[in-house]
């Protein structure tokens, strides 16, 4: 009995000391002891990497430690709704992926609308890219179109989830072809081996994935009007609208001055040369935005996808 009292005492003192020691210097704009960074996707994935890329710069700029916490599921919905429920005290932020946050909000009972959140800034974007396996008979977009016209509906194109179907439908219309769409989710990790093993004839996902896997797949078309430096020589298709954008957001009702302070910290982290270099090498387009710019961007995107 005596020993257990002693243990209780020691435990209590250790906890007490630990709490004292974790007090940190507060930033003038807000007084968070630490920042929780919710990652709505799996560890090791793109959002996790983005969080970890920004973590050192954020900690430096904010003067407190930034803790990454995973809340995965539902294509991001679980993490986004977790952020939605968090206190708007400037101490909790999360990744945001556009258009995922908009599309997932249309699900029933999901608990958030994309215009609820307090957006801090977008940091990178990636254009949609159509890819084929290295040993595909269709090495250019012209060859692919010709192949699809020869056997309408018999070529298969993989894309991410349900929204990928709409994006493919748009491209199919622009190219004037018919092909069968195959939804793949659970991360692009499934799509790449499927494509490399020629289980599907083509796949459409972000240029960042095309860049990363350029050893096993070839890109034949890029969405939008800008070429991608890591995919030299790949033609662009301005009538194909497919861009994925990543950034950071805070819970609804976060006061404007906290959002501003977080925006400054984010941009300082995102401007670091090693972060920019990693983005450019990865096939991303880096962005630095003011709060006004990100709000305008989001309003635009939400309007585009309004029913």
């Amino acid at each position: 009995m005596k020993i257990s009292h002693l243990m209780k005492g020691i435990t209590a003192s250790v906890f007490g000391a630990a709490m004292l020691l974790t007090g940190t210097t507060a930033n003038a704009a807000w007084d968070c002891k630490e920042v929780t960074f919710i990652v709505p996707y799996s560890p090791g994935g793109g959002s996790d990497q983005m969080a970890r890329r920004l973590q050192p710069g954020l900690e430096e700029a904010l003067g407190v430690s930034v803790n990454i916490v995973y809340k995965t599921g539902g294509g991001g919905a679980v993490g986004f709704s977790e952020l939605h429920r968090s206190k708007p005290d400037g101490c909790t932020i999360s990744n945001v992926v556009v258009p995922n946050v908009i599309i997932s909000s249309k699900g029933e009972g999901v608990g958030y609308k994309p215009d609820d959140f307090a957006y801090i800034g977008m940091t990178e974007s990636s254009a949609g890219t159509l890819m084929v396996p290295k040993d595909s008979p269709y090495k250019t977009i012209e060859a692919f179109i010709a192949g699809a016209k020869e056997k309408p509906g018999m070529l298969t194109v993989a894309g991410t989830g349900g929204s990928g179907a709409d994006r493919w439908a748009q491209l199919a219309e622009v190219l004037g072809i018919e092909a069968t769409y195959v939804p793949v989710s659970g991360g692009v990790g499934k799509m790449m081996p499927m494509l490399a093993g020629s289980h599907v004839d083509a796949a459409a996902t972000g240029a960042n994935h095309a860049t990363k896997h350029s050893g096993i797949v070839d890109s034949i078309l890029i969405a939008g009007s800008n070429e991608v430096s890591t995919l030299p020589g790949v033609p662009t298709e301005p009538d194909w609208n497919y861009v994925v954008t990543w950034g950071i957001m805070a819970p609804p009702g976060t006061p404007a001055d906290y959002v501003e302070a977080l925006n400054v910290a984010l941009n300082s982290a995102a401007s670091k040369p090693e972060v920019r270099e990693a983005l450019l090498k990865g096939g991303y387009v880096p962005h630095i935005q003011t709060v006004a710019e990100v709000n305008a961007f989001m309003a635009d995107e939400i309007a585009k996808l309004a029913d």
Partner: protein
């Protein structure tokens, strides 16, 4: 490659890899802490280390967790990670028979064998193996899942129907959440946490730990301990001898583990299940499987450990990780500006090979760590049930919560646990239900994708042609017929 070996045996590599192994021992032993979470939590600590040492540490954790998850599976019938589910089928009965140390030594030695084999595949056979792995697309994964399901025949005990029903329940529950094919909610009942589906780890803890605890509580008057603790002198050597005496079984388990580990999306849990099934099918004396046959333990552990280094093969050849912990390690590499994939061989070839050597050495280290830890760990069953039961429940609750920092997972775990406890009383075996949870995410999305593909090229071509499909279908039919024949025979005997 030789240069990489010397890198891997340098003191700093060995030091960090051993730390990873020790952490893996803790991570695997606590149900609810998975290898994925363990590696994810460890990644920030690797930032201050040079890359080689950092990933050696992560690899050490992964490999040891694939051993230590057998410990709670054997001692208290609760797999420490989903990969050890099949280990408990025979491991726990062994503990109840007073052969607990034998079970854990077998698991440890088996894990070491599996890890070394998997690491050798990684170092020498990466490219040929990945060529075979690329033949696996949605239809092939579907048939692999079906094949893994046929193990129900051996697990279900007396009623195959109940086994099938249990698996069906498991699969149905694993389908809860947003469908993979379209943003459609399935049975989420408007609860946001369910949109992501039922967490596998919480479900498995619910299926195995909770009924176990409830049984312990109900039996308190009759049984004071999980089992009688018998000190087994000389058990280490005699068990090692027993395991060495089944070389073909060991080799088969290792090969199955490595091949399934290399498939992105499959991983250690499926490897262990298929290996167990095959071990059962090919053995002459099947009577002891499920009742404490040491080969059940080694089949599962050799395979789930061989799958771990194998899961790194697609990472370095295709740039795609073969399992979730491999994905975390991939993320750690990418944060250092490295691009895991075929180019990595050209830019950092020695890193690729030293990692393989580190995994191989980790397998040996796991063996020694396990040998030291076994006598201590088996003493856990000396703890009386009235203390052990609340401890397990406590760990189960923390474990279920820790997965997603979500109290909802704890409620789910308890709900599933009570449900399984009740259905056990009417003859349902928890194994098939756990199997359904693990295999549902393999069978269902791949079936859907394969069906989409078949819109383009026809069902016949997609599902019933190609050597991999035909092999898997034949194996499944064989597996089912073997069970049917043996049931028929035993029924005739009792007539």
């Amino acid at each position: 490659m030789i240069e990489a070996f010397f890198m891997a045996i340098s003191p700093s590599y060995l030091f960090y890899m051993t730390i990873g192994v020790l952490l893996g021992l803790v991570v695997g032993t606590l149900p609810g802490l998975t290898a994925t979470m363990g590696t994810a939590l460890l990644v920030p600590f690797t930032f201050g280390l040079p890359t080689g040492e950092g990933i050696a540490m992560l690899g050490g954790l992964y490999v040891c967790a694939m051993f230590s998850d057998a410990i709670p599976a054997c001692l208290v019938n609760t797999p420490g990670t989903p990969a050890a589910m099949a280990t408990g089928f025979d491991g726990h009965p062994m503990v109840k028979q007073g052969r607990g140390q034998e079970a854990i030594v077998a698991a440890c030695f088996g894990s070491a064998i599996g890890t070394v084999f998997g690491a050798i595949c990684y170092l020498l056979l990466a490219w040929p193996m990945i060529a075979i792995a690329l033949k696996f697309g949605p239809p092939q994964f579907f048939w692999l899942g079906i094949f893994a399901l046929t193990i129900i025949g051996s697990l279900a005990g007396d009623s195959i129907l109940k086994g099938l029903a249990g698996a069906a329940i498991g699969i149905m529950i694993s389908c809860i959440g947003i469908s993979h094919a379209a943003e459609v909610n399935r049975y989420t009942l408007n609860i946001p946490e369910l949109r992501g589906g039922v967490s596998l780890v919480a479900a498995l803890i619910g299926v195995f730990a909770v009924p176990q605890v409830l049984n312990m509580i109900l039996n308190l008057k009759k049984e004071e301990f999980v089992a009688e603790y018998k000190s087994e002198p000389g058990v280490i050597l005699s068990t090692i001898k027993k395991v060495i005496l089944t070389p073909i079984h060991n080799l088969r388990s290792a090969v199955i583990g490595a091949f399934i580990g290399i498939l992105p999306g499959a991983g250690s849990p499926i490897a262990a299940i298929v290996s167990y099934n095959e071990a059962l099918r090919w053995s002459k004396d099947k009577s002891q499987y499920g009742k404490g046959d040491i080969r059940g333990v080694t089949a599962s552990e050799i395979a789930n450990n061989a799958a771990a280094p194998a899961a790194m093969i697609p990472l370095v050849t295709l740039g795609v990780p073969g399992s979730a912990p491999a994905a975390v390690i991939a993320g750690a590499l990418m944060l250092r500006g490295l691009n895991p994939g075929p180019e990595l061989f050209a830019t950092d070839g020695s890193l690729v090979y030293s990692f393989g050597w580190s995994l191989l050495i980790a397998g040996i280290v796991v063996f020694f760590v396990g040998m030291f830890a076994t006598p201590l760990l088996t003493r856990i069953i000396k703890i009386p049930l009235r203390v052990l039961a609340p401890m397990i429940m406590f760990l189960a609750i923390i474990g279920a919560y820790a997965i997603r920092n979500n109290i909802f997972d704890v409620y789910l775990m308890l709900l599933i646990g009570v449900f399984v406890f009740l259905v056990r009383r009417i003859g349902f075996h928890p194994g098939p239900i756990g199997l359904g949870f693990i295999l549902g995410p393999i069978i269902e999305p791949n079936l859907v994708q394969a069906l989409y593909i078949s819109h383009a090229v026809g069902v016949q071509k997609v599902f019933f042609s190609g050597s991999v499909n035909l092999i898997l279908i034949s194996l499944s039919i064989l597996s089912v017929s073997a069970v049917a024949i043996s049931k028929f025979k035993s029924r005739n005997k009792t007539n």
